[in-house]
Symmetry: C2
DNA sequence: GTTAAAATGTACTGATCGGTTTATGTATTC
DNA sequence: GAATACATAAACCGATCAGTACATTTTAAC
């Protein structure tokens, strides 16, 4: 399987898992919808879990790229970037097909303590914190790590409420709290 | 089936669904673990979804009772109650068997727009907001509804991070933000 | 003690689960 | 054109899915 084909398989599987959930999406459906035979899929991924992990790797890359770039586009200073992250999130919430955070959902479905999927989901969140911390540091904020962790709490809360309520207002609420947080 | 037996069935099913997830918990396992025959279960619940909805109703009642009572025990004033909610949450995060919020997980697994399970999950969150709003109002806070919604964002964010990280520190982070929020 | 309701275990339905086997087809490479 | 590598469709594996049928046993009311 070429790199392109493999990437396309993962990309299409991502859409399926994101839309329907992990347990609820069978490998037969994945084969059917991606156009890649099940035999071939299992030739490149030993288990469904391995495919899911590959999907989460792609999602991590895509999402961080999108978010960080959108933050840069929206703001001029690091501090503004952190604030306007919530504007970017609001845009996301308003997108057709928004169904919450894929990592939260993955963690919700695979919650055993030592589960690789859960671990990878949390790794994504830590990468976000790292970036927030770097920006907070650049902004001259006193305790960058603490602020970064708090911004993560705000972001995750906003996403969960947006997904459950089918509304984007939680983005504004979180942003308003973040303003308070950054004004200290 | 007596009311007691029915309540016990729901109670035990709650434990299973909370621990293993909804899709991952089959009705055969529910029958086996609750000691109630599948025939009998389906005599009282038309579908698995109906059982899940009953479980969520119980969880809603239990969780709100526990949280609101714990908040009252910890604090003397409405404002303090809202703040010390995060201490109560921290206690919850540290409990053995803590696996995140059942409603977030339900919403993550049943995310179709018109899904009854998703709707019931969000209804639980709205009941929480109502209570927060009442307390905020009693505390003489300027915009009680806005503050209540923001506290919900903080609470959900803290829960999600606690579940993913297997750590309770997000409770303190959220509390520290809440202090800022309530000090305005 | 009889009757009727409600519970049970067991077996079954057709579908789907994750994953494998097999036999066939189709490129590329030499 | 033979060989190699990789793809395919389709059938298959045993297990499990949600839900049902059925014949039997328990429970409770009279």
């Amino acid at each position: 399987m070429s790199q392109n084909k493999r990437a396309e398989l993962i990309r299409k599987a991502l859409v399926l898992f994101y839309r329907n959930g992990f347990h609820a999406t069978g490998m037969d459906l994945v084969a059917k919808e991606t156009g890649v035979s099940k035999t071939s899929i299992y030739n490149h991924f030993r288990t469904k879990e391995e495919l899911i992990l590959a999907v989460l790797r792609l999602r991590d890359e895509n999402f961080r790229n999108w978010l960080f770039r959108r933050m840069e586009d929206l703001a001029d200073t690091p501090k503004e970037q952190l604030l306007l992250m919530f504007d970017a999130l609001e845009e996301w919430f308003l997108e057709d097909g928004f169904k919450g955070c894929m990592f939260i959902k993955a963690s919700a479905e695979f919650q055993e303590h030592d589960d690789a999927i859960n671990a990878q989901a949390y790794a994504h969140k830590r990468l976000l914190v790292d970036h927030f911390e770097m920006l907070a540091s650049q902004a001259g904020i006193e305790d960058p790590h603490a602020v970064a962790r708090k911004l993560l709490v705000l972001k995750e809360g906003a996403i969960v409420i947006a997904a459950m309520s089918h509304s984007a207002t939680s983005a504004r609420e979180a942003k308003s709290i973040a303003e308070l947080l950054m004004a200290e």
